[in-house]
Structures are given as structure tokens and as C-alpha cells.
């Protein structure tokens, strides 16, 4: 039985991939990358989740069932990296708009 977060992961990643392939607006392509990144982040964070667990802090812990700390650290890193990537891509999109006055990938030779 596949639990809900994992289904959401599959939906998000497939949605991002298909949008990246079929959309022609550069901003939408950047959004597709970000949606896919969020899907992967959700996957990482739901890997570390245990039902009924607390935060992984040992001092005065009410019980010993804890969520895994490693995926949370990974997700944090990956969120930061994703923001950097998306910011860089948006910069490129803005500069392309400045040069050509269009964001439509079909109108440009290199970007098909």
C-alpha cells in the first residue's frame, strides 16, 4: 500500500517533468524545475517520518520514537540548493527577456 506523501511525490515529479518538456514559456520551465525539486524534497522528508514520532532531540525527550534527523538535514541542504538554481535560472530568463523582448522558447533558435 503506497501512502499519501509518496503518491504526492510521484504526481509532483511527473508534473514537473512533463511541464518542462511541453511548456514553451521560460518562466514556466523554471517553475517546472522548482515543482520537481519540491517533489524530491517531499520524498526525502517523508522518508524520515515515523508515525507518532517526536523531533530528534534527546534532551528531555518524552519518548524514544523519533523522526530520522539525516533526511531533514538533506532536505534543508537541497532546498537551499534548489533556491540557488531557480534564482540563477530566473536571472537568465530576465536577461534573455532584456535582449530579445520575448520569453517564448519557440521564437529563439537555440532554445528549442
Amino acid at each position: 500500500m503506497i501512502s499519501t506523501p509518496f503518491m504526492a511525490v510521484v504526481v509532483l515529479v511527473l508534473f514537473g517533468l512533463s511541464a518542462m518538456v511541453f511548456k514553451r514559456n521560460l518562466i514556466k520551465i523554471v517553475m517546472a524545475v522548482h515543482v520537481m525539486g519540491s517533489g524530491v524534497n517531499l520524498f526525502l522528508i517523508s522518508l524520515g517520518y515515523r508515525a507518532g514520532s517526536t523531533a530528534p532531540i534527546f534532551t528531555n525527550a518524552p519518548k524514544l520514537e523519533m523522526a530520522l534527523p539525516v533526511p531533514q538535514a538533506l532536505t534543508l541542504t537541497s532546498i537551499v540548493i534548489n533556491i540557488a538554481v531557480v534564482a540563477l535560472m530566473l536571472t537568465f530568463a530576465a536577461l534573455i527577456y532584456e535582449h530579445y523582448g520575448t520569453l517564448d522558447a519557440r521564437k529563439r533558435r537555440l532554445l528549442e
Partner: protein, 512 residues
């Protein structure tokens, strides 16, 4: 010796810290900044050479970051820290990458001088950051650090591709960024699958577990990671970013991108051979071989009609990757531990990986120099440059013969190994390879004739600066050296690397 003990960490830390200090140092003047960049890369190169000498003596060099005793990896039989691993293969790759980075910095000295209005301190910062990322990629021993360094590499190289700030360079950088961001996310997804199953991120520890219990999840993670790395290396179905990026980026950035390709292939081999060697499905090897043959074919046929020299070299680079994949894929299918020809195919693939970087780098630097002295991108516009600069013509001819796999260049030695061994495996693939080489030679003879021979170019032609000439001569020396003494290179570097790949036990045992 303390330098050797900390060598893997230093190889990453020196370029990284130098990158962060570069904007400050460049306040002191242009010459000091250039010297700073070259000296810090030279120091990192020294560290990498020392590491390589230690590793080639036969031991796996393990370094756990932040531990009081760096060589102690697992307290309690479970590696938790970030662990850097250098065996013969990763030492070879990091040596090649660092040397190319150093040559790129030397070449930049005069080449970038006239673009100082674009902010050269930022250029050098990104160059050093890219070098640090490449070192991390080749030395890392765990999957998540791998992901982080892949992102470091792709972000800094996208910045460098866009450096000339023309509309086309932004487009090329955007395209590269979309492809590589997708690749990194697929890689992260695969890493997540492995973490979910094994609860570990260390490559060697996972390899240890994979051989005992493997399932569908491993295969899914493996396919995700291999497709991500094929995206990064620009083999056939996703090669379209490559010619654009090669056309738009400055020549010395493109040779760094060749090294990124080399590193992506290295990581792919590391995952296939060291981590999943025992459970690797034969289909994966076939996939790599078939994509390799298609890369050769598509690269060569698309290179033919190009008029822009660097774009043409981009397609030639797609074809050259095909040869590496042919060799290594044959090695994956046909068990190098038992059969001689599979071992030959694998070492041919690794040898060609190095030669490919050297040959194409020389040709790209020569193409960059042609652009520098004439200001022309279109090869139909220039001609007769051999009258003006004979040395440049000789260097271009060396690189041309090497890419086409003619003796006595390095490319010949490795391509011959690939042809011979792949012929045993499947004659058709070998024939495709040979035909591709012949067509490459035909294309380059045409280019050589139109750029260097014929009617002398009418416009003004500048002198070739010494620093650019020096970088090209070093590359040409190594191409000739590997071509004339292939056995020396094979015995010293390539065979230990291939053996490190096919015997994952040494790699695993070094860490766990």
C-alpha cells in the same frame, strides 16, 4: 607527513577558499589576482599529484572529514561522517581535472585581458569554484556530498557559460541549467531511494549491503542515477545543450566543461562498477553501449555541416564520449575479471576518457586562439592562417590527428584498444566506431584546409600570446607522449585505475 594525510580535504579546500578570497585579492591589482589564481591551482595540483603517488603505491586513501584521526572511518562499524575516498581511479580523474583547470587559468591570463570590463574577478572566482567542485566530485565517498558538488559544478559552470553576456550565451546557459537541474534532481531522487532502503549514504557501505540483499528498488535507483549522469555528460538523447554551450562559452571554460563530462562519466562508472557491480543488469551495459554507438553516429553526422568552429567541436565531443561509452559499456557487459578483452575494453575506455579531454582541449584552445587573433567565429571567413602563425597550425594539426585517432597521437592508442576489444564483443559496434573516426578525420581535414591553408586572411591578425601558446604546448606534449609511449601511461596510470574499478572489494574494504 601532514600534507599527505590531509591531501583529499586540501584538494577541495584550497580552490574553494581561494575562490572566496579572489574578489578581495583582486583589489590589489590584476597581476596579483592572476598570480593568486594560478598559484593556488598549482598548489592544489601539487597536493593532487602527491595524493596520486601515494594511491598508486597500492593503498586506498580514506579521509573522514572532521574526525580527530582522519583515517579512522567507522566507529562502531557504521560510517557516519562525510568520507572522502581516493583510489587509483579517482586519483587519476582528479589529476586530469586539476591539470586542465590549471591550464585554463594560464590560458585565461591574456585571453580574458580584453574583457576586463565584464568583471574578471568574478570570472576567476567561478573558475576556482568549479575546480573545487570537480575535486569534490572525484574524491567524495558518499552520495549526498556527490549531489552537493554536482550542483556546485553546474551552477558555477552555467555562470561561466554566460560570461560573455550576449543574448545567445544566456540562452545556452539557460538550456544547460535546465538540463543539469533536471539531472541533479533525478540523481537526488535515486539517492533518496537508496537512503530509504539502506539508511546510509556512504557509497562503500551501500555497496557492501547491495551485494547481500538487492531488489527492484536498487535497479530503480541505479537507472535514475545513470540517466542523470548521462544527462550531465551529454550523450546522445540529451546532447542538445552541448553544442550551444561550447559555441557560446569562452574557450578555456569549454575545456573545463570537457572535464565536467569526464567527471560525470567517472561518477557513472563508480556507481556501476563499485557500488552495483554484483547486481548490475546486463541491460544497463547494453544501454550504455548502444547510446555510445548512437553518440558516435549522431555527433559525427551533425558535426559535418557546422560553420562555427566551436560548435563543430561540440558535436565532435558528443562523438568522442560515444567511444568512452562503447569501451566501458563492453567492459560492463563482459565481466572484466574473467575475460581479457573486456578488461582491454574497460582500460581502453578509461584511457580514451583522458585522451579525449586532452585532444579536444587542445583543439578548443587552438580554436579560441584563432578567434583571439582574427575576431572571426565563422570558419568560412578565415583562411591561410598557417602563413601568419605556423606553430598554431602545427598544434591544430596535432589535435586534429589525435581526435581522429591517427598515430602517433594519444587518441590512436586508446581508440585502437577500443576497436580491438569491441570487435571481439560485437563487430558491428567496432565498425561504427571506425567509420566515425574516418568521418571525423575528413571533417577536420576540411576545417584545417579552410582555416590554415589557402588564400591568406585579409583582416588584421594579432600575435599569439606566450601564455596561450604555453598552455597549448603542454597539452600537445602530453598527447604526443601518450601516443608514443602508450605502455608507460597504461602501466602507470590506466591499468591501476581499471583494476580499482573492477575490484570493488578494495574500495569497500578501505572504508567499511
Amino acid at each position: 607527513m601532514i600534507l599527505l594525510e590531509h591531501a583529499p580535504a586540501l584538494a577541495i579546500a584550497v580552490p574553494l577558499l581561494a575562490a572566496l578570497a579572489t574578489p578581495l585579492v583582486s583589489k590589489a591589482g590584476k597581476r596579483i589576482r592572476n598570480l593568486w589564481v594560478i598559484l593556488s591551482l598549482a598548489f592544489a595540483e601539487f597536493v593532487v599529484i602527491m595524493l596520486g603517488r601515494d594511491v598508486l603505491a597500492g593503498n586506498v586513501h580514506v579521509y573522514s572529514v572532521g574526525a580527530s584521526v582522519p583515517s579512522l572511518t567507522s566507529t562502531g562499524g557504521f560510517p557516519i561522517r562525510i568520507i572522502l575516498v581516493a583510489d587509483a581511479m579517482s586519483a587519476l580523474v582528479s589529476l586530469a581535472a586539476m591539470s586542465i583547470a590549471l591550464l585554463a587559468a594560464i590560458y585565461s591570463w591574456r585571453f580574458m585581458e580584453e574583457h576586463h570590463s565584464l568583471g574578471l574577478d568574478k570570472f576567476y572566482t567561478l573558475l576556482l569554484l568549479l575546480a573545487a567542485g570537480m575535486m569534490g566530485l572525484s574524491l567524495t565517498g558518499d552520495f549526498f556530498t556527490l549531489f552537493v558538488f554536482i550542483e556546485v559544478v553546474s551552477i558555477s559552470s552555467a555562470g561561466l557559460i554566460a560570461f560573455f553576456s550576449s543574448g545567445e550565451s544566456f540562452e545556452a546557459a539557460f538550456k544547460y541549467m535546465v538540463i543539469s537541474a533536471t539531472g541533479s534532481l533525478l540523481l537526488l531522487f535515486g539517492i533518496g531511494l537508496l537512503y530509504g532502503k539502506y539508511g546510509m549514504l556512504n557509497m562503500a557501505a551501500i555497496a557492501n549491503e547491495v551485494s547481500m540483499q538487492h531488489s527492484f528498488l536498487d535497479i530503480a535507483a541505479l537507472s535514475l542515477m545513470v540517466s542523470a549522469l548521462l544527462l550531465k555528460s551529454g550523450s546522445v538523447p540529451v546532447h542538445m545543450w552541448k553544442p550551444d554551450a561550447y559555441q557560446e562559452a569562452p574557450a578555456q571554460v569549454v575545456i573545463m566543461m570537457l572535464t565536467i563530462t569526464l567527471l560525470s562519466l567517472y561518477v557513472m562508472f563508480r556507481i556501476c562498477f563499485s557500488v552495483f557491480s554484483l547486481v548490475l543488469p546486463v541491460t544497463m551495459g547494453w544501454l550504455i553501449v548502444i547510446l555510445g554507438a548512437m553518440s558516435v553516429f549522431v555527433g559525427v553526422t551533425m558535426a559535418m555541416p557546422q560553420r562555427n568552429l566551436k560548435r563543430l567541436i561540440g558535436y565532435a565531443a558528443v562523438a568522442e564520449i560515444g567511444y568512452v561509452m562503447l569501451g566501458a559499456g563492453t567492459g560492463l557487459i563482459a565481466m572484466p575479471n574473467v575475460s581479457g578483452f573486456a578488461m582491454q575494453a574497460l582500460s581502453g575506455g578509461i584511457f580514451h576518457m583522458i585522451n579525449d579531454v586532452l585532444d579536444l582541449s587542445l583543439m578548443l584552445l587552438a580554436a579560441g586562439t584563432v578567434f583571439y587573433i582574427t575576431r572571426q567565429q565563422d570558419i568560412n571567413e578565415v583562411g591561410g592562417l598557417a602563413h601568419k602563425s605556423g606553430y598554431l597550425a602545427v598544434l591544430f594539426m596535432i589535435s586534429m590527428l589525435a581526435i581522429a585517432g591517427m598515430p602517433p597521437m594519444g587518441g590512436f592508442a586508446s581508440k585502437l584498444m577500443i576497436y580491438e576489444s569491441v570487435y571481439y564483443f560485437n563487430p558491428l559496434l567496432s565498425i561504427i566506431g571506425i567509420l566515425g573516426s574516418i568521418m571525423l578525420l575528413a571533417i577536420f581535414v576540411k576545417i584545417f584546409a579552410s582555416v590554415f591553408l589557402g588564400v591568406p586572411y585579409k583582416g588584421s591578425v594579432r600575435q599569439v600570446p606566450k601564455s596561450m601558446m604555453f598552455a597549448m604546448c603542454v597539452l600537445a606534449f602530453f598527447i604526443l607522449f601518450f601516443g608514443i609511449f602508450p605502455n608507460l601511461a597504461l602501466d602507470l596510470l590506466i591499468t591501476p585505475a581499471a583494476e580499482a574499478l573492477i575490484n570493488p572489494q578494495a574500495y569497500i574494504g578501505g572504508v567499511v
